[in-house]
């Protein structure tokens, strides 16, 4: 009996719909029952229900990650397991002095920025135009959702075939429409190869933005638009002064999550170019996987730590910028 009473008391903190448990309104209500009952059956229920998940994630996700971070400071090569001595920052020096690293870092930035901007713009346009109801809207949404069911690796294969220099459909279409006179060997040149992998990524990611932004748009109350219309605001003005500010937090967080995700997304490049030609289309994560396959776990782990550090710093600055803008 006592169990049920307690869960009832906790209800307000859940009902507030707070996504994070640490949100202010949930806290005070939750403090009392927790203190009273943690050693009782309630605590056992929590422990028993959480344990399987904790074991799996702990053993197969967190243990390798933490074990891997110390490898970054050791000479850890699969080819020579007898000498795994401490090398301090040696692996990092190897990474930073590698002449390819500059290209790889530049590619990573290009890959993220040049992918996310068109994804956002096209996704926003689709969401805006989908907000108004029309016949078959549901069907349309289901159809443009399809690319999402495909894995990044297969998308890479699809586009590798379409960007094929000799028999690729993209060259054929461009020649038919008169944009080019002869086929471009897209994936054989660093510049065009980078362009091609980004095109594939844009194609893949637009849907995600369209879905997230549409959901955000549908959360804007109609009264706001009515009021804006009464005040004589035009469409463009309504968009930039009512709609965008209202959903700006959602937009900003969606972009942040996407930046992190794309930065960590090697699949398309892996399938289309494998980092080639001559390592010119590698991003940090594809490079990391290549190093793992070569058996150089020390350098691979150093690259992993560099990825985590870059993303942490970026997220911190991004969230700080977001907060200051909100306060002004």
């Amino acid at each position: 009996m006592s169990l049920q009473l307690k869960t009832t008391k906790e209800r307000p903190s859940n009902a507030a719909g707070a996504p994070g448990p640490g949100t202010a309104p949930g806290r005070p209500a939750a403090t009392r029952p927790r203190r009273r009952a943690f050693t009782t059956r309630r605590g056992l229920v929590i422990l028993a229900f959480m344990l399987p998940a904790a074991i799996f994630v702990g053993v197969f996700t967190y243990y390798p990650m933490i074990a891997g971070s110390q490898m970054a400071f050791r000479n850890w090569k699969l080819s020579n397991l007898t000498d795994t001595s401490w090398v301090g920052l040696g692996n990092f020096v190897t990474v930073f002095t590698d002449p390819a690293f500059g290209v790889i870092l530049g590619n990573s930035l290009l890959w993220v920025v040049a992918s996310i901007v068109p994804q956002f713009v096209i996704g926003f346009a689709i969401a805006l135009w989908l907000r108004r109801r029309f016949r078959f809207r549901g069907v349309y949404q289901a159809l443009i959702f399809f690319p999402w069911a495909i894995s990044g690796f297969l998308i890479g294969i699809l586009f590798r075939w379409m960007f094929n220099g000799e028999f690729g459909v993209i060259n054929d279409l461009l020649m038919k429409t008169g944009f080019i006179d002869q086929g471009i060997p897209w994936l054989a040149e660093p510049g065009t190869a980078m362009f091609a992998v980004i095109v594939a990524n844009v194609w893949y990611g637009v849907t995600f933005f369209a879905i997230m932004i549409l959901a955000a748009l549908q959360s804007v109350p109609d009264e706001l638009f009515e009021a804006a219309a009464l005040d004589g605001a035009g469409k463009v003005r309504t968009l930039f002064q009512i709609t965008v500010p209202y959903i700006s937090t959602t937009l900003a967080l969606t972009v942040l999550l996407r930046v992190i995700w794309i930065f960590n997304f090697p699949d398309i490049i892996w399938a289309m170019t494998g980092g080639g030609p001559a390592n010119q289309t590698h991003i940090i994560t594809t490079w990391m996987i290549t190093m793992t396959q070569k058996g150089d776990y020390g350098v691979a782990s150093a690259l992993g730590l560099i990825v985590v550090a870059l993303l942490l710093v970026f997220s911190a600055f991004y969230l700080m910028a977001l907060r200051t803008r909100k306060e002004v």
């Binding site: 689709i126 028999f167 637009v206 782990s301």
Partner: protein, 278 residues
């Protein structure tokens, strides 16, 4: 809607949406068309925009020359087992995270979220060594264990959102009637949450079905390879046989598309709920 749309605006809108529809579907059409062409017809000039001579030769050779049947069975086994167990385990953890308040709750949620930011392949090397120690390299059971761990965090977060929509009066009533908490969860809540649970299962299944880097690292023998692992072998060879490749791609994509068509509504719900409310 209070504003009316002018005709040019309407035309622009439908033209744009139509164009995007064509762009979204064309690559899918193209791979299907390629796979159905007769061998040799893919390398014919001018390009044929539809299979002039319809042929299933590519599919046949996929099963005859490459051992595609084995890869399909492996993928099916691994993905089904991992998705089932991961969904069950996540159901328990999501339930606790939705219904209880406890001290380490935010830490647990944070630990789950972090795994979504830092992908599993960041620790490929150490994971491989761990699996060597456990004697689980080149072992489908081992891959299942790793996939379960990969699926649990997002699945938990997704299911937690669905639990929040269900009043806890339901299980309280069941528990007054003498059900245990576990019994109440499975007899009373699970039936109500069925669509959400199915969606979570499908999401897990599709992720495991598609996973590449972990499988490539952990599965070396041909008889143990999953479909993506095998395809990875195809593309790293010098001459890609685009005929069989396209057939393989279609066969890999097809099941996930069918499953997604069923579950997309719930997956979208799961994805957007957190973001919009937060």
């Amino acid at each position: 809607m209070i504003d009316t749309e002018t005709t040019p605006a309407r035309i622009t809108r439908f033209a744009f949406l139509g164009l995007w529809l064509v762009i979204s579907l064309f690559p899918l059409y193209w791979i299907v068309a390629t796979s159905l062409k007769a061998p040799g017809a893919i390398f014919r000039y001018p390009l044929e925009y539809w299979p002039v001579e319809l042929s299933f030769e590519n599919y046949v050779s996929l099963f005859e020359t490459a051992d595609f049947g084995t890869y399909v069975v492996n993928s099916l086994l691994v993905a089904t087992a991992a998705a089932t167990v991961a969904t069950l385990i996540s159901l328990l953890s999501a339930y606790v995270l939705a219904r209880f308040e406890f001290r380490s709750k935010s830490a647990v949620l944070m630990a789950f979220l972090v795994t979504q930011m830092i992908p599993a392949f960041i620790a490929l090397g150490p994971l491989y060594l761990l699996m060597v120690q456990l004697k689980l390299v080149d072992n489908r059971f081992g891959l299942v264990l790793v996939y379960i761990a990969v699926c649990i965090p997002f699945c938990t977060i997704m299911l937690r959102g669905f639990f929040a929509n269900i009043p806890d009066a339901l299980e309280e009533a069941a528990m007054i009637d003498g059900c245990s908490r576990l019994g109440a969860l499975f007899k009373v809540i699970v039936p109500v949450m069925k669509p959400g649970i199915v969606a979570a299962f499908i999401f897990n299944f599709v992720n495991c079905w598609n996973e590449l880097f972990l499988a490539v690292t952990l599965m070396n023998k041909d008889e143990n390879k999953t479909i993506p692992t095998a395809l990875n072998g195809f593309i790293t060879s010098f001459n890609i046989d685009w005929g069989s490749m396209s057939a393989a791609a279609v066969l890999t994509i097809l099941p996930t598309m069918i499953l997604f068509a069923f579950a997309s509504r719930y997956i979208v719900q799961g994805l957007t709920a957190g973001a919009v409310k937060g």
